[in-house]
């Protein structure tokens, strides 16, 4: 009984390490084809539309309400101390440093990462990936590289939009619920805004994009057993991506704070 439980834990651990290794190798193989991006430009554009443009409404909605709730919560507290004008500082700094890239990453993991796992998982179980192999076409070049390039290009753009819309949401709540004028809010916001925060946010968004593609495509390529396997791959891709995004978010912030 104890032995069986131990064996299950061991198998789980081996599977996790195997999966991580597989995703990493797949990523490295895709990176090795980056110089051939031009030959897949059509597919890269298609992926940029699917992953970026179609994610825009959800990402903006999430960013808007994130900025609004930040302004509301901090505004209520700061009003007690008579320094409610500082919500401009807090919302702008929070959105550009943390909330903008993090929530964009989370939205992309949920919407794009799961989509990649489901699409490539379906291709795997319907033997399309095998067919590519047999035609001497490396799936890392044909399927993964275009997605990697597209998301790494589009994620920073979405993050900038999220930062902007989040700050705008904070301004609306600041004006209508806290009583801070737009002028004062944006003046404080501009004072708080540092170029390094924006850079850090953009670097984070590229790292999150790489995580989402490596995990989503890797899970899809390892899908087995028909519809159930595709479902598992999709679920796992979201869970693993979210965990990695949150962990990497902390370390990137730590490293940039340490460097600056």
């Amino acid at each position: 009984m104890e032995q069986a439980a131990l064996a299950r834990v061991g198998r789980g651990l081996i599977d996790t390490i195997e999966g991580a290794g597989y995703n990493l190798i797949l990523l490295m193989r895709s990176v090795s084809y980056l110089h051939k991006s031009f030959s897949r430009s059509g597919e890269i554009m298609r992926q940029m539309f699917v992953t970026g443009v179609l994610s825009l409404p959800v990402a903006m909605l999430v960013a808007l309400f994130t900025g609004m709730v930040l302004a509301l919560q901090t505004g209520i507290e700061l009003t007690r101390w008579g320094i409610e004008a500082e919500i401009g500082t807090i919302v702008t700094a929070s959105m550009s440093r943390e909330m903008g890239p993090l929530w964009t990453g989370i939205v992309l993991a949920a919407r794009v990462g799961s989509g990649m796992a489901a699409e490539i998982g379906t291709m795997t179980v319907s033997e399309e990936v095998d067919a590519l192999e047999v035609m001497s076409i490396d799936p890392a070049r044909f399927l993964v590289m275009p997605r990697l390039v597209a998301l790494a290009l589009i994620a920073p753009v979405l993050t900038i939009y999220s930062d902007f819309v989040g700050v705008l949401g904070g301004a609306l709540v600041g004006y209508y619920q806290i009583g801070v004028s737009y002028d004062l809010y944006f003046q404080k916001g501009m004072e708080a805004l540092q170029l390094i925060d924006i850079y850090t946010g953009l670097i984070k968004s590229v790292i999150f994009a790489v995580i989402i593609v490596a995990v989503g495509c890797g899970q899809g390529m390892r899908a087995t057993r028909g519809a159930e396997g595709v479902g598992n791959a999709t679920r796992n891709s979201v869970v693993v991506s979210l965990i990695l995004i949150i962990v990497f978010n902390y370390f990137v912030t730590s490293i940039t704070r340490w460097i600056t």
């Binding site: 399309e128 001497s136 076409i137």
Partner: protein, 254 residues
Amino acid sequence: MDYVIELVDVHKKLGRKQVLAGVNLQVSRGETMVIIGRSGTGKSVMLKHIIGLLAPDAGKVFVDGVNVLGGRREDLLKMRARMGVLFQSGALIHWMTVAENVALPLRELGGYEESQIRGIVEEKLDLVELRGSGNLTPDKISGGMQKRAALARAIVRDPEIILYDEPTAGLDPVTGKTIDELIVSIQRRLGVTSVVVTHDMDSAYGIADRIAMLHNGLIMQVGTPDEIRNSTEPAVRQFIEARTSGPLTDDSST
């Protein structure tokens, strides 16, 4: 003897199941070898060993005397360039049109002018009787048309070896017969060596030069269609007569 494909004592375990337990099989140049056996006996696994999609746990697979997974990846890719594979599901890339699918191996490997590619694609679509369907995506065509489109893609580089995985599975008898006729006509026109996995005996008798029966991870009998038809081997008899009781079902129930 000039064997194009040779499996020597191939063993493969998938999960806890010993799927292949010492398979030995030789396929001669220009021959159509049909592999029959019940579902789940490892017929497709055997095919995947020949293409190098799976590596045997023990034993070796040779194509033209070269160990399939014994060399560098470049050697494997070169070997695959001489092969065409028709997958059970067709495996057409779902977002591409029929013509784009057929052209895919030519475009991706390079060395062809666009006008050349268009000419070759048209010729192959003609061969599988799909002229005029090139602009349709796989979800807009029937299962039989998908199989024919996949067959056109499999032969687009004029392969020397074609592997067919359940080419008539899931098709109505008329469409199945059309696919059988295509396999025979391609074999005659291109002089290819073919390995066909099926459990459709009408199809097997119609296209095979020789038939091999796979059971319990081993090749139980190899022979011409007539030899298989007149086989005294109880498991072969049960399979070809589609009887529900006999050694095949007794083995699987134990």
